[in-house]
């Protein structure tokens, strides 16, 4: 029954409904796959007992005809989501063995709909990273390798565990979060589909915060349809998160296969970077042609402030992070290092508990908010953010339905390859951060491979709360490009 793990959620849903297999069998197949793939380091905590219990409950509900939309679907959960009575660490040593007495809103909704928890997935520490190398549990390995090479590649980050597990069929789908590209970049690196919904679409309650004004939860899955299915369960207004928006959640799956005829697709000229690999350029044109062939109209658009987005992002996000991470002080929970006095306790605890990248961002954030620097950095970055938002608004005001861009400037790179220069790492987010800065939805869809056989993705950026259009367009690309799975080597 090992081929159960290769099913999409939509296929598994049909199989469960027709009683071709049980939720328990589906879960067991995944638990076995997880066990066999520990070398990928995608999971930081496996919860087989909980998984079997939930699968059994799902089977009972399915038998009674009461199965929810995700009844019996086994999922992995990024370790940034608080899971009640199950260790939640954000992959930081500072949270230690933290076991929350509460469940995040997003995962609560998944369990409400019948999903099964397989375990907690690795990520960059506090979601700060683009390669999943900053996790205190060690790096995650991408199941993809270059043709004829044994080089271990990163899955991207920060949702590297989510992307790797979905691509390697260690779960049918996964939750992820995206602050500057943390869903879309790893999706692109692993030939999976990842969508960052509009800011406010999913509740942030119970998700360990990185940068509150940018963080948003979303799914990673193996097809556009699967992403749409997961999205519907994850989304929704939550009175406990006042930045979540009280508007109805549509049936995203209904958008799959909808005609895109007459839609205007913007191609932003500022995203054509100097020195961009030809294969990325080619992929981008191909994607545009597929959408055109489906009846969409291509228009060149301008997003003039794009070049300021990355520097502004690396001011706003660390500023918020420096404050959000102040609660990890050793006083109430998590790691506490001994010391002679309180100041020393703070210093020792935070020096020992935070990894290098987190420390760097806390320092940057503290600096840009300091008296005398606030106006020059934080305030200017916020102004840039307003301009970036306006760029998109102007574009959509001209009737553009969605914007097509590459998802990443390159394919997956090797572990340790980009460790030395943080800016080189930050450049991974160049196509994705603008979307977070503007609070818009963005989806990454696999669109092809580079010359070395590594997957590449395209990104579609939509109007606020119009994720449906992204699913419709993403499906066109998926239909044209096909779906990709890595050759199993582990």
């Amino acid at each position: 029954m090992t081929d159960l793990t290769s099913l999409t959620i939509a296929e598994a849903r049909a199989g469960l409904a027709s009683k071709s297999f049980t939720a328990r069998e589906l879960t067991d197949a995944h638990l076995a796959a997880i066990e066999a793939a520990r070398v990928l380091n995608a999971y930081v905590l496996e919860t087989p007992d909980r998984a079997r219990e939930m699968a059994k409950a799902a089977d009972e509900k399915i038998a009674k005809g009461e199965g929810g939309p995700l009844a019996g679907i086994p999922l992995g959960i990024k370790d940034l989501f608080a899971t009640r009575d199950i260790r939640t660490t954000a992959c930081s040593k500072i949270l230690g063995n933290f076991i929350p007495p509460y469940e995040s809103t997003v995962t609560t909704q998944l369990w409400r709909d019948g999903a099964v928890l397989l375990g907690k997935l690795n990520n960059d520490e506090f979601a700060m990273g683009s390669s999943n190398e900053t996790s205190c549990f060690g790096p995650v390995t991408n199941p993809w390798r270059r043709d004829g090479s044994n080089t271990t590649l990163v899955p991207g980050g920060s949702s590297g565990g989510s992307a790797s597990a979905v691509a390697a069929q260690l779960c049918m789908g996964a939750t992820a979060t995206d602050t500057g590209g943390s869903i879309r970049q790893p999706a692109a690196f692993t030939a999976t589909v990842g969508i960052k919904p509009t800011y406010g679409r999913c509740s942030r309650w119970g998700i360990v915060a990185f940068a509150s004004s940018l963080d948003q939860a979303g799914p990673i899955a193996r097809s556009v349809r699967d992403a749409a299915i997961l999205m519907r369960s994850m989304a929704g207004y939550d009175p406990r998160d006042t930045t979540s928006v009280d508007i109805a959640v549509p049936d995203y799956e209904a958008a799959i296969g909808k005609s895109v005829k007459g839609m205007k697709i913007g191609i932003p000229k500022e995203y054509r970077l100097d020195g961009m690999p030809a294969e990325i350029e080619k992929l981008w044109s191909e994607g545009a042609e597929w959408l055109k062939a489906a009846g969409a109209e291509l228009v060149e658009v301008s997003l003039p402030h794009t070049k300021y987005a990355l520097p502004a992002y690396y001011i706003v996000a660390p500023a918020e992070a420096s404050s959000n991470l102040a609660r990890y002080d050793g006083v109430r929970y998590g790691l506490r290092e001994g010391a002679k006095n309180i100041i020393e306790m703070y210093e020792n605890t935070r020096a020992e508990g935070f990894g290098a990248e987190v420390r760097r961002r806390v320092l940057i954030g503290t600096y840009v908010l300091s008296a005398g620097y606030y106006d020059a950095y934080y305030l200017r970055a916020q102004k840039v953010r307003t301009l970036i938002k306006k760029d998109f608004e102007d574009c959509f005001a001209k009737g553009v339905n969605a914007i097509l861009t590459p998802a990443t400037p390159s394919a997956a790179f090797g572990i340790g390859e980009k460790g030395a220069d943080p800016v080189e790492m930050y450049l991974n987010d160049i196509f994705t951060v603008t979307v977070n800065m503007a609070g818009l939805p963005g989806i990454a869809v696999p669109a092809g491979k580079d010359t070395q056989g590594l997957p590449l993705g395209l990104q579609l950026i939509g109007r606020a709360f119009d994720e449906e259009t992204l699913f419709s367009l993403g499906d066109i690309i998926e239909q044209a490009a096909g779906r990709f799975a890595p050759a199993k080597w582990w």
């Binding site: 989501f81 929350p100 119970g206 004004s213 404050s323 102040a326």
Partner: protein
């Protein structure tokens, strides 16, 4: 030059007079059932850490949600201070590390507070009054409390207060001496208590003041200020200002300069001490809290609250003066505390003739009741004499059933034993005797028994008082004094 007398006190120094300039930041705990951003209870005195939600403990992934009642309370307060209400305000984070601050930042309002400029009118001794400007009022979270006495080696933290809503009310530097400062705090406290937006309990820390003090030559440029932190008594505020002003004057007159710093008042030594200098001040790195949207509400929301505002002390005071002929002093005494004013109003409401006896009722509330309560160290809430009982006593005096003197005896009986005053007067035979025949007999007896006094009284009519006294004594105080007086005058021919 004949300058008008300064409405405030100047301090004499070796180089001449000095003027004190004072501004205050009052932290008032908002009266609400739950905290500013969480559903945890605000009840005082619970077991440590028994009123702590996941948000208050700053668990990972927890988010603040504004408590609308706290917003209403801040708006009410703003209206009570005749202040501008800002329909849009912003919550900011004030970042610093301390074990009583779980989030590592306090959610406050920095650049855009909920309430803008307003003013408070102070009545000072001698009928003087002065207006103190309000700079702003903003909402913020309180911190928890460190417990240092629970263990020889550790400090414990109680987060019950963590996240409780405070209003910080910032005055303009309009206060000029300790008397004004004390009057300002007293008045502000009174307004808050009338509004029901803060219980004003300074002992429990519901109202605390940071006092900024500087000195200058009258009319000269402002001096460097020092901030005296966390004062929780009106008297201490007065003492601290007197001390601090003198300290600064002495330094300047000795050729020194004032360092801007934060100081603490030691009530035992009656002095202020340096806590931290400007250089040691925190860099709070304020920035808008990204977990909270700007706070926005409509003018209709404000208007609705305004329409339901209770009568405030100033308005009540003038109503008492014009409506019932109270003296300015008596009216001030009655309105100073909301409970006193309410008690008086309840007495008034039960009177048979408010216009006739309103002033009499005020005398009885202030002199007999408050006097007695003070003597027994009791407050009005625990008064054994109710407003209805006191009102009945005043009615009995007003309608002439009992004399003022008997009324005092009656008050004592009601205080000790309780009971319906009107019934007591009946059952205990305390009714004033107005039967002229009965009184006349007593009068005749006294006149007959004292021929020498009668002669003296004819020469010196004031001696009628002695006769009145004798008649009252003989009647057990129950004779109507007016009737006795009239009878005596006619019988004695004076």
């Amino acid at each position: 030059m004949n300058a008008p007398a300064a409405p405030h006190k100047l301090i004499k120094g070796a180089t001449g007079d000095w003027e004190v300039v004072i501004g205050m930041e009052i932290h008032a705990q908002v009266t609400s059932n739950s905290k500013l951003f969480s559903g945890a209870s605000t009840a005082f005195g619970g077991e440590p850490n028994s009123h702590v939600s996941l948000v208050d403990a700053a668990m990972p992934g927890m988010l603040p949600v504004i408590n609308e009642e706290c917003v209403r309370q801040a708006v009410r307060t703003g209206l009570g201070l005749n202040a501008k209400i800002n329909l849009r305000s912003v919550f900011d984070r004030k970042n610093y590390f301390y074990p009583d601050l779980p989030q590592g930042y306090q959610i406050s309002q920095y650049k855009s507070p909920i309430v803008g400029e307003g003013e408070v009118e102070l009545e000072l001794d001698g009928g003087r009054s002065v207006t103190i400007g309000i700079e702003r009022l903003h909402l913020e979270q309180d911190a928890g409390k460190l417990l240092h006495d629970q263990s020889p080696t550790m400090s414990y933290v109680d987060l019950n207060r963590s996240g409780v809503a405070l209003m910080e009310i910032v005055s303009k530097p309009d206060i000029r001496d300790a008397e004004q400062a004390k009057a300002y705090v007293t008045k502000l406290r009174s307004i808050l208590r009338y509004l029901g937006t803060c219980d004003g309990d300074m002992e429990k820390g519901s109202l605390r003041a940071d006092v900024n003090v500087s000195v200058r030559k009258p009319g000269g440029p402002l001096g460097t200020r020092c901030e005296i932190k966390n004062m929780n008594s009106v008297n201490f505020i007065g003492q601290a200002i007197e001390y601090e002003a003198r300290r600064q004057i002495d330094i300047i007159e000795d050729g020194g300069t004032i360092d801007q710093e934060t100081r603490l008042f030691d009530p035992n030594k009656v002095e202020t001490r340096s806590m931290r200098s400007k250089e040691e001040a925190h860099d709070y790195r304020y920035f808008p809290d990204p977990d909270l949207l700007p706070l926005e509400f409509s003018q209709a929301f404000v208007d609705d609250l305004k329409a339901q505002l209770p009568e405030l002390p100033d308005a009540k005071r003038s109503r008492f003066i014009t409506g019932f002929g109270l003296s300015s002093y008596d009216a001030s005494v009655l309105v100073a505390e909301r409970e006193s004013a309410e008690f008086y109003e309840t007495v008034l409401a039960g009177l048979a003739d408010k216009a006739r006896d309103g002033k009499l009722a005020a005398n009885w509330v202030i002199n007999e009741l408050f006097g007695r309560l003070n003597k027994e160290s009791m407050d009005i809430a625990s008064s054994p004499v109710s407003a209805a009982q006191l009102g009945a006593i005043v009615d009995l005096i007003g309608e002439g059933t009992i004399s003022g003197k008997i009324a005092k005896d009656l008050f004592e009986i009601v205080w000790q034993e309780g009971g319906d005053p009107r019934e007591l007067v009946e059952t205990r035979g305390m009714k004033q005797v107005t039967d002229l025949g009965a009184i006349e007999k007593v009068v005749d007896d006294i006149i007959a028994a004292n021929p020498d006094k009668v002669e003296q009284a004819k020469a010196k009519p004031q001696l009628v008082g002695w006769f009145v006294g004798q008649v009252m004594k003989s009647s057990g105080g129950k004779a109507n004094p007016q009737a006795v007086n009239d009878l005596l005058k006619s019988k004695l021919g004076i």
